[in-house]
């Protein structure tokens, strides 16, 4: 029964279309957003070469095109499955978990092999770039055997028969190919990922991937299913604009998924929890006048004096989850270095925020961020000058 449900879940979005495995694989590779890491800036898609920054050093995502010498051309299906589900290359070397094989172990064989079939249709490109620039001892790949033993529990996806098929489809996508937890989960010791489905928020490249749980302020507690769908489909929903790493995810992946799959993801993320209202208890803020003065002069032109922004263009700050996240990394990064929102077919503008780091010193950034985290009913911890300094 469980197996049957799982099969139905995996096929839920595909049942109406008669597709070749390669066509299914193209869609599934989009779900997994493989192209994001496995493409060098300005390079051929999937030909590898992009350096992925990790806390341990850079690691170069390898070539996935069917080139025999430098790509996957000489790999068997079994090699491919072993790499994605167990983190082992054909020569027995261990992958680093920058490649989210921890998540892919939950993906069904048919789906992984469909991705392989799609990758096999690509034009072979010779690009031997790969490898990690990690420092000792993390440069010793054989030591990954211990990491895998500690943190890696290969587990196939198990459907919950008490939930709807759509909910289970969402769980399969989020916990598997979508590998949402790779960013939205708090990394543990040695970069270990959290339990599947624990999406309490995590730091990634100077940004904070927000809590996707039901917290009414910092999480999705105040978001409706439609809010989540619109955000993933367009990058913009009147509550938030996708920017930074999430803008890439929206542009490359979620904006290209079927509405049925986005609805499934939304159902799973909401965990059937009802909409909850944030408790209004704003506390007085030290130096609030300075933060308010900077906000009025430097921010209010776009984000408006009442923090409501301009729908689809300038993000709303009042009641925003990103603004009230546990960690202010995203806010600091956006203010210091600027940012650009996702540009999708449905929301093609991709509005940008200018960098203000040259104009605001650390104390000023801290003051204005502390202000927006406590104004208009927002409630979140103050931001320190020291945190801003680290973000420069």
């Amino acid at each position: 029964m469980l197996g049957l449900l799982a099969a139905l879940v995996a096929a839920a979005s595909d049942e109406t279309r008669a597709e070749t495995p390669a066509e299914r694989g193209r869609y599934l590779a989009t779900v997994g957003d493989c192209v994001a890491c496995h493409t060098a800036p300005g390079g051929t898609p999937f030909a590898g070469g992009r350096a992925i920054e990790t806390p341990f050093g850079p690691i170069i995502a390898p070539n996935l095109t069917p080139d025999r010498a430098s790509g996957l051309g000489a790999w068997s299906d079994a090699d491919f499955l072993r790499a994605l589900r167990r983190g082992l290359r054909p020569d027995g070397a261990r992958l680093y978990p920058a490649c989210p094989y921890v998540y892919f172990s939950a993906v069904r064989d048919e789906d992984l092999l469909a991705i392989r079939a799609f990758l096999a249709t690509l034009t072979p490109v010779a690009n031997p770039a790969r490898g990690a620039g990690f420092g000792f001892p993390f440069n010793l790949r054989p030591l990954m055997v211990f990491w895998d033993a500690l943190y890696f529990r290969p587990a196939p996806f198990v459907a919950d028969p008490g939930r709807s098929m759509a909910w289970n489809r969402g769980a399969y996508l989020v916990e598997g190919l979508g590998h949402c937890g790779a960013c939205h989960g708090a990394k543990g010791a040695l970069g270990a990922d959290p339990e599947p489905g624990v999406l309490g928020g995590g730091r990634v490249r100077g940004w904070f991937a927000p809590d996707l749980g039901g917290d009414p302020r910092a999480g999705l507690g105040g978001w409706s299913l439609d809010d989540i769908e619109r955000y993933l489909a367009t990058g913009s929903n009147g509550r938030a604009l996708a920017a930074g790493p999430m803008a890439e995810v929206v542009e490359n992946s979620t904006a290209r998924l079927t509405m049925a799959d986005l609805r499934a993801i939304a159902l799973y993320l909401k965990q059937d929890a009802p909409l909850s209202q944030p408790a209004a208890a704003p506390s007085p803020v030290p130096n609030g006048r300075i933060g308010a003065a900077i906000y009025a002069d430097a921010c209010a032109a776009c984000h408006r004096a009442n923090g409501e922004g301009v729908p689809g263009l300038f993000p709303r700050l009042a009641g925003s989850s990103a603004v009230q996240s546990a960690r202010p990394d995203t806010l600091i990064t956006v203010v210091l270095h600027g940012g650009r929102a996702a540009a999708t077919g449905a929301a093609p503008t991709g509005p940008a925020m200018p960098a203000l780091g040259w104009r605001l010193d650390d104390a000023s950034v801290a003051a204005v961020l502390t202000y927006i985290r406590s104004a208009w009913g927002n409630e979140a911890a103050p931001v320190s000058s020291e945190a801003v300094r680290r973000g420069r």
Binding site: R289, I290, A293, I294, A298, R359, S364
Partner: protein
Amino acid sequence: MLTLAEAATLEAIVDRLIPPDELGPGGREAGCALFIDRQLAGPFGRSESLYLLPPFLDGTPEQGLQSPLTPAVRMRAGLAALEAHCRAAFVGRAFAALPPAGQDRLLSEIEDGTRSLAGVNARAWFDLVLQMTMEGFFADPIHGGNRQMAGWRLIGFPGARYDYRDWVERHGAAYTLPPVGIGGRPGWHDAG
């Protein structure tokens, strides 16, 4: 860029071109000399954007200055010539030590061409000083002048705000927000 002595002369000049009065501070307090010093030390002072190879001929007024000398060199030469003139004509006193009325008279004579200074085009030098003093009084404070936005407060200029949408519909209402510069305003650092 300027020496202390040159700066003292320049401070005295800018404070006569824009004297302090009941409307607000003068050129000295507004930082005009600092603005001029920074500009002379930068690309403008070195004529970096101008073609500076010969021939050098006296052109028509419409053709602008035809000189191999950069603004920094001209400023220095003019200040030195002014000092030499004062020390010769006023028994060794520096320009800065003259009474304001005496300073005004001398500057006025240079401006209208009735007073020449040895070795320099005194009128062209005066034009340079006057132009740069006005720039220093009204340019964004980030450049060293317009200190405390004295120039902007004087004329009611609101500064570098992004837009004024909240005020567009408020016909007849007094606009009360303080001016804000590229680098902010004093209220960003103390709750003013």
